[in-house]
Symmetry: D2
Subunit: 385 residues, 4 copies
């Protein structure tokens, strides 16, 4: 097994998602973090790097320096990929440069600030023949892959309706607790359009919900009718999202996302209704998947069981009944990406560049729909193709 | 305790809801069924009446005959109220006549075929000073009343978002099983605009969901943006409903209703999110109610417990842990109505004429919104007042 | 449909179980309460009777008077059956006399104070050819009957292990709340050996658990090893029960029962493990039944569905997804009993005299086991036969 | 942060638990696997080592060689600790030698084959002043630690009853599927007394249940009454366990463990009932903990929330609502052990030598109780002290 080397941009002390990326690759043991820029503040960045056990020479002051220096190292020593876990506004520039230097990229969502930028990255990745993944971690749960397989196998017939819910309460609870909007300063940027972009909750979690709905249903969202709200006082960005959906095959959908639903933790649930049956999955109980078929008792499929499809079985790390969670899902994403970079296998369940571009098209369509007074807005056609 | 006498129109052999009404009053023991017209077919009607143990002289051939004859009986012998459990199209005429003869009315939803008819009934009931109830049975669950009280007490702060889901699968499963759309012929009328009216799933169950959302949140829906579909082949009426909501206080909502969600039985769930907390209730596990408050563990309140509000406690018929269900909820509605007719107490939790009229205004607004290409449509203002 | 007439002994104002019996027969509409003695205090008894709408002439001062008087009434007017809902100590004498007068009997559990008394009743009922039922209400849940059918059909192979849990908290919570041990005075007798007998929690709820375990598994308990405790201060009777079980076919079991488990409401759960699969049922979510078969996804069967066995389907009163509860289960018991009395059908799922006698044999064996220092004690052999 | 070096004995290709240990330390990043003996077959062992990326010079042929060679390496290069993940029979000898060479030890349960051996290890560890941990992984779930803290804080009053259930189906399902008793050859040893010892299910999972019951309740089990069975055909060891418990403070308990409960995956649940409240935890939904207090709604505490105790909060790796599972629990054990070895903090929640010795005393008492015809048997007194 060849071990790949990774550099990270973002994810310093106190950040949530950078730490998750690092635990995910550690769990797999296939990719090693060897360098990084963990903060805009060079001192903080270097302190973070040291704490992570990196060689001081590979704790960089900025991503430009990191990418240039690493690219100049001999093959076998230099990094193979870059993980981008910075606030949204810098994704594009870092990803662009990483691709240009010939590195593969694992990027946080949303991919960029605009659809145009996303397309540019797509062109760049194609030109440089680099692998690109977007961190839609929920795709990495075994039962999500099982659900997708079941739909694809026709277990529920033709998809007719998709209901996806992704609600959290932390943006309200932080205010109530008079905390600085979150445990860590680094998450404050989500409320700042300059750093987070024009989409708030929409770009932070509704985009996950949309991706999950498409992934499992096997259908692309064609048009959206979005109703966005800023419920938190003085907020510039949406923190509450309601969207009606139409899919390519004519199926309908509802997408509910919010970050001001007090009491909700990370309530992501998906229901896919077909002409012959339906599927029900909830992220907070990820090891089971309910399958209804007309006129029959509900089936509850469970992670780790021999009756699962090959892909779902391969994603399990523990015997059935030993819970697996979010870090394991994230690690499955990295494992897929590892094989994709090594050329030792790939899966179209891995959210790649196409998913990243679609995510931006989804955001732009939703913003457009909302701005036009909640009218149907099409997802850009060439993207949907 | 004075026992009231009831006549029933509809609900003959094989009908679902008439039987529920009869079990509900039997459970209470406060109202006695003494006469009825149970079918358009006089022979069937009389057979049903005999089977129910009614005196042959009070098994009528038609509702006009029944109302006229009963009205001519001496006080103390004649009926006090009429239960209307016929297909929607006849509600108006029967209710109108019942009121004119001076009877109280318990009517199935939707109240009428049009908002205009509903208003006419409202005027009639006021003129004749008769009590009128609409069978929104879900209001009769103790934990629904508890939820309403908690919102009203400020336990979750200002209501900001309401998510209500009411999905069933029987209209799809009946087709798949090649059954005549349902167990009984009598339900076929729901698919026939001449009998059911212009609203399908909308008038059958979405109207329940809307009522429940308003009842618990204490907020009136002001405008709707509805997306209706007829998914079942050859259907004239909607069988799938997605609605965005705005409430009087500015709160937002989503209403999902469908009768073609294979595998769903009677999945009615309500979530009310406020500025300080949230409430979660599911009809298929009706004895518990979850309450989240910012920064605190979730509370699960349970039917029959001393910490419930007086009204919810009074609705319990069994000690905690001994499940109560749909019939008991229905019976609670009838108990409220009994006291309202006797003048021995009343509750604004009882869905009365106002709820019936609002239901029709909701339906008309949703149909209008859908017809206009999914634009926001206001619930009639004087109704909302 | 012939309507039967019932007299009740016990169950006056404030009593819990008498009210349940009355609601159960009202729900069915097959049996009518026409007379009763509701309290030892004649004034209270008559007041209760009037409140229930009984004719004053049939509100009796004592059960001897009631039975003698009713027996002297003409056929068609006199009662057909007696429901005994008094404290345990009087079951035997009332049942004996009722049988001697030729009435059928529905009796609360435990049947008597001793096994010898139970046998005497058995002989009497046989001699007088009267029907006799014991109120093991949990047998009346549709999914319990479905579970029994599945075991009987071999769906889980040979039964190997049975785990039954029946825990409540009210005897501890009443003390903590400084309430008189319960909501109503009438339940105090459970703590008094003179009224309740030698078994406390054992005779009150463990006996239900044992009955349910035998009913569903289709196996008789042959020996028990019981460990009884009186955890509440100053209590003479057991309030906590742990029993190891052996069944006739060699299967093993564990029975846990307690009334001092703070927080538990009426937590009755049953798991039956067989050589090929297993069944899981919980009384507080009675409408579903989980079935595991080796190597397959868990099935969740649901009340009201067409795939259930005939007997379970026949017990449903509402469409699937409309919860049914404890009163409905109780009503199913009465319906079975009604048909058994009318000779219009019977089911061995109805807990009859054999179940009553077995219950007393179980209690005596458990008391003996505990008294002998937790040694295995056999259930009386001729009873088990 | 100082990184410690670990050697592993056992856990080669196909083994379940060795892989879990390795993922756990990888997740933490505090301990590095640098050497090992992964199989009795030297070729397999070396192949496993290479696959794990170890230096060939540190892939040993046997544990004696490994321990001797590592001990001879310079400090800073040689291992700090040994993880023992072999079949039970070899734990003692390997642990003994590891301690004698001055290494810390993380050992799988049960610690040894006999209580006498366990005591000898205890003496050795004390003499050599080495840290010793036993892999009772369930102690590493945040909500288990929270539960323990709540009991210790008096949240449920005096512990009165403990009910613990640990049931699996794999030993039955493997037979049914005609698989060699398990996915991998390495698990076959559990059925062989020569390798697994005199306890089957008792030593494999009942020991976990007993440990968990003591850990959370804060009470030591003083006596047991055990009923062991070998349900699988031709089995020499118990595969089904029922035990009545008495705790030091007089509390009672029931322990149910089985590996032939078809359909159960890894169903470990704990209920602790106290005089004022109760706690409920289920391993297959590990992120929540239910707390009942007399007369109040049930509380559901959730992983990652600010209201948890410091220790439980410190164990979280993801924000609330992002599930954590078995590997994370295991990693928490290793993290505690890491700090204990480094002298940078310790917790008595870490299952150490005392837990290991108590586990053996529990096994011996249960075997004795069963052999004596299900009589109460005391846990060795000096151990309980």
């Amino acid at each position: 097994m060849r071990k790949l080397k990774m550099g990270m941009v973002g994810g310093g002390q106190g950040a949530f998602i950078g730490h998750i990326h690092r635990m995910a690759i550690a769990l797999n043991g296939e990719i090693q973090l060897v360098c990084g820029v963990f903060s805009k503040d060079a001192a903080v960045s270097r302190a973070s790097g040291r704490e992570l056990g990196l060689a001081p020479s590979r704790c960089y002051d900025g991503y430009r320096e990191m990418l240039a220096t690493e690219a100049s190292l001999p093959a076998g020593e230099r990094i193979d990929l870059v993980a981008i876990v910075t606030p949204n506004a810098s994704h594009f520039e870092i990803a662009r440069m990483a691709l240009q230097y010939g590195f593969h990229v694992m990027c946080e969502k949303p991919l960029t600030l605009t659809l145009a930028e996303a397309r540019e990255l797509r062109a760049l990745a194609a030109r440089h023949e680099r692998q690109f993944a977007v961190a839609h971690a929920y795709a990495g749960y075994p039962m999500v892959v099982q659900a997708r397989q079941l739909v694809s196998d026709g277990a529920i017939g033709t998809v007719q309706k998709v209901v996806v819910d992704y609600v959290q309460g932390w943006l309200a609870e932080a205010v109530l607790a008079q905390r600085p909007q979150s445990q860590s300063q680094t998450e404050n940027w989500r409320l700042d359009p300059a750093q987070g972009g024009a989409a708030g909750c929409l770009g932070d979690i509704a985009i996950h919900a949309a991706h999950l709905a498409e992934l499992v249903s096997g259908q692309a969202i064609s048009t959206v009718l979005a109703d966005l709200a800023s419920i938190g006082q003085g907020r510039q960005l949406d923190d509450d999202v309601a969207i009606l959906l139409r899919f390519g095959n004519g199926a309908r959908g509802m997408l509910n996302a919010s970050q001001v639903c007090v009491g909700e933790e990370n309530h992501l649930t998906l229901r896919v209704y077909g002409s012959q049956g339906s599927l029900h999955w909830a992220q907070q109980a990820p090891d089971t998947l309910a399958l209804d078929r007309a006129g029959q008792p509900r089936l509850s499929l469970s992670s780790g069981q021999p009756y699962l499809c090959d892909a779902a079985r391969a994603m399990g790390r523990t015997p059935s009944g030993h819970p697996q969670g979010y870090i394991e899902a994230f690690a499955n994403l990295y494992r897929w990406f590892y094989h994709s970079m090594c050329g030792t296998g790939s899966t179209d369940a891995l959210p790649g560049m196409a998913a990243g571009v679609r995510g931006m098209a989804f955001i732009e369509a939703a913003l457009r729909s909302n701005a036009q007074g909640n009218r149907w807005a099409a997802i850009e056609a060439e993207v949907a193709a």
